[in-house]
């Protein structure tokens, strides 16, 4: 089973566009990344720039509206993710518990759809999905 462990860092939603993680935090994170890799469970990972550098595209009546970040009213924002391949939901949660997070930070653990999780007609509609870049293993 593959899981995405989504990181929701404290203050990410309002972080300045030029805010960058400090070396100490990155070093701690790297230690955890290495642990995941050595355990053979890590399939991928990425970190995101603050939402203040991003934009939201919203849709009304078929029309798209663009709003630049930071986003008013947002109380949390995604800062990055890991994708892990593990044997159970509990194992993914145990890995998340070991992430080097501070108080009031969140790691959200979400299972990734595999093609077989869909009913037959949806599977048919999803044909060719695995050909897309980064659509990792159709494996439990």
């Amino acid at each position: 089973m593959r899981f995405m462990m989504v990181v929701i860092p404290k203050g990410c939603e309002s972080a300045a566009a030029n805010a960058r993680p400090d070396a100490e935090a990155v070093a701690k994170m790297m230690e955890f990344n290495k642990t995941l890799q050595k355990a053979g469970v890590l399939l991928g990972l990425d970190g995101l720039l603050p939402p203040s550098t991003g934009a939201r595209v919203s849709y009304t009546d078929g029309e798209a509206t663009v709003t630049d970040g930071p986003f008013v009213g947002a109380s949390e924002a995604i800062g990055g993710y890991w994708i892990v391949q593990v044997r159970s939901r509990e194992e993914a949660i145990e890995w998340a518990k070991r992430a080097p997070m501070s108080d009031n930070e969140i790691v959200e653990v979400r299972q990734i759809y595999e093609r077989r999780d869909f009913p037959a007609d949806v599977q048919k509609a999803a044909e060719g999905f695995e050909e897309l870049p980064n659509a990792a293993a159709a494996k439990a």
């Binding site: 593990v86 050909e131 897309l132």
Partner: protein
């Protein structure tokens, strides 16, 4: 506490065990020099966790908790051993000294289970002194954190049989005084090969069941891939480790396409290539490049991976660079001659140079005793004869193949082709 809550906690403990057990056992083994004893001590610690955590909650650092529990048991164990060994003399002082030493070493091991410990654990579990089935069981148990029941299910053997297999393996290691160490020099190469063959065996057990209805045992494939990733980290300079990882990733990338709607087997040439997993192909290609960069391009796994890569690169079966595949099989035959490889080469020759050339290559294998009961020999012959329009002979071959195949999926596949052959003429 409610039963549901207890089940939840047990699942969590299982997950903690999967994550921590390898390093825990490796750390203890550094002190006890015996992986059998280390595993028993770790198991005892697990039993303690199963008793206490449901009441007390999961500790903040479960690994440290387990190691401390194991340490306590190790000291008990030492005390019992010493009592038996030394009937006279200054038992008490000696014992106290030993306990202190052991306690200190366990604390150190707890502080820092080094990667070498894990590597030593894997090398020991795959030691040539063990029967192959013992190596496989021990590796899954110690390096993958699988329970005896899980391993037994994967290999369709009774749990009791599997338990005995593990017991025997541990006993053999102990009786042969196999040291808990990483081999050096020439020995290292041989022992790496032994480890890789165990990993690939696990993968293949999952990838192609040799009997019964279970076509795919994906979990085993995933365990093998996970083990491979662990080994890539532990032995980054060993080209064959990357070669095997490449091979497994590339083969596993076809998992979804190898099963038809009703679970029936789909041959490589007829697979829907759009359901090959391209992320996995990328990982396989990257691993193959690393193997080649490290100078291991001509090693067995890397060559097999290179063949798999030819398939992965081709948009259709006809687009495949069969000429190159023939060359790669020739190279593979040079370093590890095997009738099965020769058979695969004949298939490639048939594709590259036409069915007559393929048949000619097969003729050389007709008297091969190792293939006498191998269903793929008549199966391949049957296919080539079909292509040549020699339907009567093709039917005979396919019938022979059908009688030899013991996998239900493969039998289905052969029946289908036999039916096609029946309709010809």
């Amino acid at each position: 506490m409610s039963d549901i809550r207890k089940t939840d906690i047990h699942k969590t403990i299982e997950a903690v065990w999967k994550i921590e057990s390898t390093r825990l056992i490796a750390g203890i083994a550094r002190v006890t020099h015996d992986i059998g004893i280390a595993e028993e001590l770790a198991q005892d610690a697990l039993v303690a966790a199963l008793e206490r955590w449901p009441e007390e909650g999961i500790p903040e650092t479960p690994a440290a908790w387990l190691m401390t529990a194991a340490k306590r048991r190790a000291i008990d164990y030492l005390r019992r051993g010493r009592m038996l060994e030394q009937k006279h003399g200054e038992i008490a002082r000696e014992l106290e000294f030993q306990q202190q030493r052991l306690g200190k070493e366990m604390d150190q091991a707890l502080d820092q289970v080094i990667d070498d410990d894990v590597l030593r654990l894997i090398f020991t579990a795959c030691h040539p002194v063990l029967a192959v089935e013992g190596r496989v069981a021990l590796t899954l148990r110690l390096a993958c954190g699988l329970t005896t029941a899980e391993i037994a299910r994967s290999f369709l053997v009774p749990e009791k049989t599997l338990g005995q297999r593990i017991f025997r393996a541990k006993k053999t290691l102990s009786e042969a005084h196999v040291p808990f160490e990483t081999p050096r020099g020439d020995e290292l190469r041989k022992r790496v090969d032994a480890v890789l063959s165990v990993v690939y065996l696990i993968f293949n057990e999952g990838y192609t069941a040799t009997f019964g209805d279970e076509w795919m045992r994906e979990e085993l494939c995933n365990d093998a891939l996970r083990l491979g990733r662990i080994l890539v980290e532990l032995l980054p300079g060993e080209s064959e480790v990357h070669g095997l990882q490449a091979l497994m990733e590339l083969q596993a990338s076809r998992t979804a396409a190898r099963r038809g709607p009703a679970g029936a087997a789909v041959l490589l040439s007829e697979q829907d290539r759009s359901s090959w997993n391209h992320a996995q192909i990328e990982r396989g290609m990257a691993a193959l490049r690393r193997a080649q960069q490290l100078g291991g391009g001509a090693c067995s796994y890397a060559l097999q991976a290179a063949i798999a890569a030819c398939h992965a690169r081709a948009n259709t079966a006809a687009d495949t660079d069969w000429e190159r595949i023939v060359v790669l099989y020739d190279a593979l035959l040079q370093i590890s001659p095997s009738p099965v490889v020769a058979l695969n080469r004949a298939v490639a020759v048939g594709m590259a140079q036409g069915p007559s050339a393929g048949l000619h290559a097969l003729d050389a294998l007709a008297a091969e005793p190792a293939l006498a009961n191998y269903h793929l020999l008549p199966s391949v012959r049957g296919d080539l004869l079909m292509k040549l329009g020699r339907y009567g002979e093709a039917r005979e071959e396919l019938q022979r193949a059908l009688a030899m195949a013991d996998n239900v999926r493969e039998q289905d596949l052969l029946s289908k082709r036999l039916n096609q052959a029946m309709r010809m003429d």
